[in-house]
Symmetry: C2
Subunit: 223 residues, 2 copies
DNA sequence: GTCAACCAAATTGTCAGACAATCTTTCAAT
DNA sequence: ATTGAAAGATTGTCTGACAATTTGGTTGAC
């Protein structure tokens, strides 16, 4: 009998779990941009000790998900529009490249997974679940980046998208943006499925630029 | 009288100083790739406490300059050639874009600084100082990346170059590579000075590809 | 009433020490 | 030689402490 079979390869430490929790909290907008994170409060809320928390915070700071100012402590960065633009531009550069490569190298099996992810986003786009829209869209990109043949591009892209997650969820809530996004993603998918690299790159570029425009719009209105 | 005027904006903490020290040590090849870093030893060597050290290590791990395996601890990653290739490819993508942008936006003053950096590398290329070659070359790129109009590209590029610093210094010690590199960099500089974006991108791509080839060569020989 | 200086509370930076969990190595037994 | 177990080393985590710095409010002078 195997009462407690555990195939977990890497044991999860408290600090890792904390990083994941905090990252998710930041994604979800639990913390107001610009607001300070008080160590002692977080310790209690997370049920961990201050050293463990501080280690987790250093990780997040290195990921640029939080800023730490000496003697003032960590806080959620309030990105300026210029910074957001710079991130979107970098994302464009990476994503266009990844989509282009992906169109040439993706396997049939992964292509089916991509189609499935597109369907999932389609369902979410029609719903009112803002979180589902963002996560299903993220799954779609994730498959593309995982099949571009370069794990570094994937890694960097994930980091960039993480930093603008709030803008993405806000802009995705913009009226009509989800459906527009769906059309653009379908275009990307079709180009990849057809193995048309040039069209795929073009579609990817268009998609990011439109996403950036939507983010700008949502930023001007909401704030 | 102002006996102790201090214009330092951000106070340096032990943690920050430790990250910088360790980063530099990793750059310099003080630690063998694949070797483990023992916390208690580093504490003594650096003269700091274990919590402070661990915070610094978490930062470095997030930068991917070290790996931390749960219950085994931190160690210097031994990059495979595939990983190095992936990093060089990502570097190519970013650097070509940055050089292209830079050629269109750089100011006269910064252009002079770039020329000066090129001269510095020229001097280093003829010398036997391997470290000087790497640092002066890094200064050259640094100016380009700082003037590409997108701080995110700069940030990502710095991170990538840091991860392959050992390969760069090794390949830069290859016979003839420094002079070849100088020629390529001069071509980049001339294209930027001429404001010729297309030529600048082409030269930048060529340079990275040659650097990658040199890195591969040095990897096969030396190891 | 406004502004400055100053004091007190809150928060961070850093350290020391401790202990359990886990990994590594050594050594003995089969 | 392979296996197994015990001993040592190392990491993961917590508690507690204290100095340095920031923050906020109070007091006092003008």
């Amino acid at each position: 009998m195997l009462p407690d079979l555990n195939l977990r390869v890497l044991p999860r430490t408290v600090q890792q779990a904390t990083v994941d929790k905090l990252r998710l909290a930041i994604f979800s907008g639990v913390f107001e941009p610009g607001s300070r994170l008080v160590e002692s409060q977080l310790c209690v809320q997370l049920g961990i000790s201050r050293p463990s928390l501080r280690e987790a915070l250093r990780s997040l700071a290195a990921e640029r998900l939080i800023d730490i100012v000496p003697n003032k402590g960590p806080f959620i960065p309030a990105l300026s529009w210029e910074q957001v633009t710079a991130i979107y531009e970098a994302r464009e550069l990476l994503e266009v490249e990844a989509v282009g490569r992906c169109s040439q190298t993706i396997s049939q099996q992964e292509l089916q997974a991509l189609e499935k992810a597109l369907s999932a986003f389609e369902a979410a786009a029609s719903s009112n679940d803002a979180l589902a829209r963002v996560t299903t869209a993220a799954d779609f990109y994730s498959i593309i980046l995982a099949n571009c043949g370069n794990p570094i591009l994937e890694e960097i892209h994930r980091g960039l998208v993480a930093r603008i997650s709030l803008f993405r969820s806000r802009s995705m809530s913009l009226k009509g943006r989800a459906l527009s996004s769906l059309a653009e993603m379908r275009e990307i998918y079709n180009s990849i499925a057809a193995g048309d690299e040039k069209a795929a790159r073009k579609a990817a570029r268009k998609h990011v630029l439109k996403a950036m425009a939507a983010a700008k719009k949502s930023m001007e209105c909401g704030n």
